[in-house]
């Protein structure tokens, strides 16, 4: 046992944390748009699995991870569309629809894997891209600037999402639809259309998060590959109070904690790992409890929109 946390170890924890944050960030930013429009999609986990499989299979067949990404985006859009039909057009209870979508996505990804791959198969996934010069900066260079493209994408999406949400007309529509859909409706903003768009966007980002697991991390596919990450991503949206920067903070905190606990275990410091596994969930509940969720939540969250009903 080395006893001390040397600088090296800290660099490892940080770099790992950044890598681990990526899928949470992608899925949570997507879910943020969905919830901002007034829908919550509990099916993120299922979409991630489908995205993970699609990305993996396309990469396996076509040989290039870039096509894998493209195809998983398309599949994610499709899954988002299903959720939209069920929860927006048919106005179904969103929590339950999400659970349905989760089961469907889990089942279908497993089925397709068995039918078209069957067995542990590796692929050549995304390679890290060291950003010239920047990656040579001592200590923070390797922490920040030696990752694969999806990692950079996820982090770039944070300011981009902020820009879209607060500075564009579409972002204005999303915020209006999520807070007072009947107002948006009377001004000719189609509530249905905005919610469809957000669910599709959210589906694409969730699928991308899944694809990151297969072609950016594991370089293979296995049943239940997401292992609950989708649900954490949803919780992070609440934690981050529906803002991209809050979500960034939450994702980093969460994944740094995870990376830290792995290192603690590896270094043999006596630490019950059951607690380590529970910890993220516990932290999330506590975070939800102290953030008084409702105050910040989009006012119409979870309420299907029907023209002409009283509130």
């Amino acid at each position: 046992m080395d006893g001390v946390m040397s600088a090296d170890i800290i660099v490892i924890i940080l770099a790992t944390g950044i890598r681990l944050a990526t899928p949470f960030l992608l899925a949570a930013l997507g879910e943020m748009f969905v919830q901002r429009s007034g829908v919550y999609n509990l099916g993120v986990e299922g979409i991630m699995m489908m995205g993970a499989f699609a990305g993996f299979y396309a990469t396996l067949q076509l040989g290039t991870p870039l096509l894998g990404i493209a195809i998983s985006l398309a599949i994610g859009a499709l899954m988002g569309l299903i959720m939209a039909v069920v929860s927006v057009t048919f106005k179904a209870e969103q929590g339950i629809s999400g659970i349905g979508l989760y089961m469907f996505g889990w089942g279908l990804s497993g089925l397709l894997f068995r039918l078209y791959v069957g067995g542990v198969t590796s692929i050549d996934g995304l390679k890290p891209i060291a950003i010239p010069l920047l990656s040579n900066i001592p200590i923070i260079g390797p922490v920040l600037f030696n990752h694969n493209g999806l990692v950079y994408t996820a982090f770039l999406l944070v300011p981009l999402s902020g820009l879209i949400l607060y500075k564009t007309s579409w972002g204005l529509n999303v915020r209006a639809v999520g807070n007072k859909p009947e107002a948006a409706d009377t001004l000719g903003v189609s509530v249905v259309r905005i919610r469809y768009e957000c669910l599709i966007l959210g589906g694409m980002l969730a699928a991308l998060a899944g694809a990151f697991l297969t072609i950016g991390q594991a370089n293979m596919y296995a049943d239940n590959i997401t292992a609950g990450r989708g649900f954490i991503a949803i919780a992070l949206v609440y934690f981050g109070r529906w803002s991209p920067w809050g979500i960034l903070l939450g994702s980093l905190l969460f994944s740094m904690a995870d990376s830290f606990q792995s290192m603690v275990q590896v270094l043999g410091i006596n630490f019950p790992y059951e607690l380590a596994v529970i910890l993220p969930y516990l932290v999330t509940i506590i975070a939800l409890a102290i953030s008084y969720g409702r105050v910040w939540a989009p006012a119409a969250l979870g309420k299907p929109f029907q023209r002409g009903t009283r509130g």
């Binding site: 106005k91 469907f104 889990w106 089942g107």
Partner: protein, 367 residues
């Protein structure tokens, strides 16, 4: 809930259509898996009903589904959504097992009620946490229950491989994570020898009637429904909304906990891995299928139990990957929740027609 014959008939028709729709889409995936949908569904529907084995297996599933479903009915009617039954089942199971194994010499008349009580209490406490978090700190209960499921699972696994592990597993060195068997005199009696169906079925049916009476015939039930349907008005009328939210979740958790007890006392006779078996989620579907009515949940649980058994049989009969079962379950959930819309919008069919023939209907709809 409109109770006239016409309304019920219509609801049943809509549900059946939803089921058929789900299966039709499922058939596409069966074709993809290169198996014959007719044969597959043939097995799926005849299997659970064709012999004693199928029927009893269906009922074995229906018992925990009904218990969980009753809890879901209570919670939904009280305006709180319980996705946490998976964890509550485990809490109930482990509580029951702990009591049963630590007091093996108590006579059944004392031990069995104690065991049921312990299970209901543990499940209820676990559910109550989410209720309390919602009532006091406005934590979204859907999220908290999903999280609590994970936490319960980890604690449960820790207990069955640590403190509560069967001492024999340790002495033989196999270390299989499971508790000792509960004393045999409190095993629920089998209703039909040579099958797994046990007296928990009768217990669950009685409880369903009890829940119905509670919700619609008592003042406390009235209060809970009032809290669910109009929390502001309930508070205005002097009803302690927070308390009833916690109570609703505690009762829902208690029901799920009882499902755990029944699984332990009736089926497994100990706590082991995989005990909750997804009943926590399927129970929600069963409750929805039963239109969130305690008595409707009875046939719904049997139907959904048959679906689980049938899908399982189908998988073996036509040899398709097990993942197919989950695909079908997911589709059933999606179709059933969507079907509500058709009950509330009777003119929907007409609108679709209008759309198909190119007329714009009502200025609504995606694109």
């Amino acid at each position: 809930m409109s109770s006239n014959y016409n309304g019920v008939f219509k609801q049943i028709m809509v549900l059946i259509s939803a089921l058929v729709g789900a299966l039709l889409v499922g058939a596409l995936f069966l074709l993809l898996a290169k198996s014959d949908p007719v044969k597959a569904y043939g097995v799926m529907f005849s299997g659970p009903f064709s012999d004693k084995f199928g029927i009893t297996e269906t009922l074995v599933r229906a018992v925990p589904l009904l218990l969980v479903g009753l809890g879901i009915v209570i919670s939904f009617r009280s305006g709180i959504i319980n996705i946490g039954a998976e964890g509550q089942i485990l809490a109930g199971a482990i509580g029951a097992t702990a009591v049963a194994t630590s007091l093996p010499d108590l006579p059944a008349v004392m031990l069995l009620p104690l065991v049921f009580l312990a299970g209901a209490t543990c499940g209820g406490l676990w559910g109550g946490i989410a209720g309390w978090l919602k009532a006091r700190l406005s934590v979204n209960e859907i999220l908290s229950t999903v999280m609590l499921n994970q936490i319960a699972l980890q604690i449960y696994l820790f207990l069955i491989r640590g403190p509560l592990i069967d001492p024999k597993e340790v002495s033989y060195g196999t270390g299989v994570p499971q508790t000792a068997l509960i004393p045999e005199h409190i095993w629920l009696s089998k209703l039909i020898p040579g099958t797994r169906i046990h007296s928990g079925l009768i217990f669950a049916l009685l409880l369903a009637v009890l829940v119905y009476v509670f919700l619609w015939k008592t003042s406390s039930g009235y209060r809970m429904r009032a809290v669910g349907a109009g929390p502001e008005a309930a508070r205005y009328a002097g009803i302690r909304v927070e308390w009833y939210l916690v109570l609703a979740m505690a009762l829902a958790g208690g029901m799920a906990g009882l499902a755990g007890v029944v699984e332990v006392a009736g089926v497994h006779h100990r706590s082991l891995e995989g005990l909750s078996a997804g009943y926590g989620f399927s129970g929600i579907v069963a409750a929805l299928f039963g239109r969130l009515h305690p008595l409707g949940t009875i046939p719904a649980s049997v139907l959904f139990g048959a679906l689980l058994v049938g899908a399982d049989m189908m998988q073996r009969a036509v040899n398709i990957p097990a993942a197919m079962i989950m695909v079908i379950q997911g589709l059933v959930v999606l179709f059933v929740v969507s079907s509500d819309y058709f009950l509330q919008n009777p003119d929907f069919g007409a609108r679709i027609k209008a759309k198909l023939f190119g007329e714009k209907a009502d200025g609504e709809g995606g694109k």
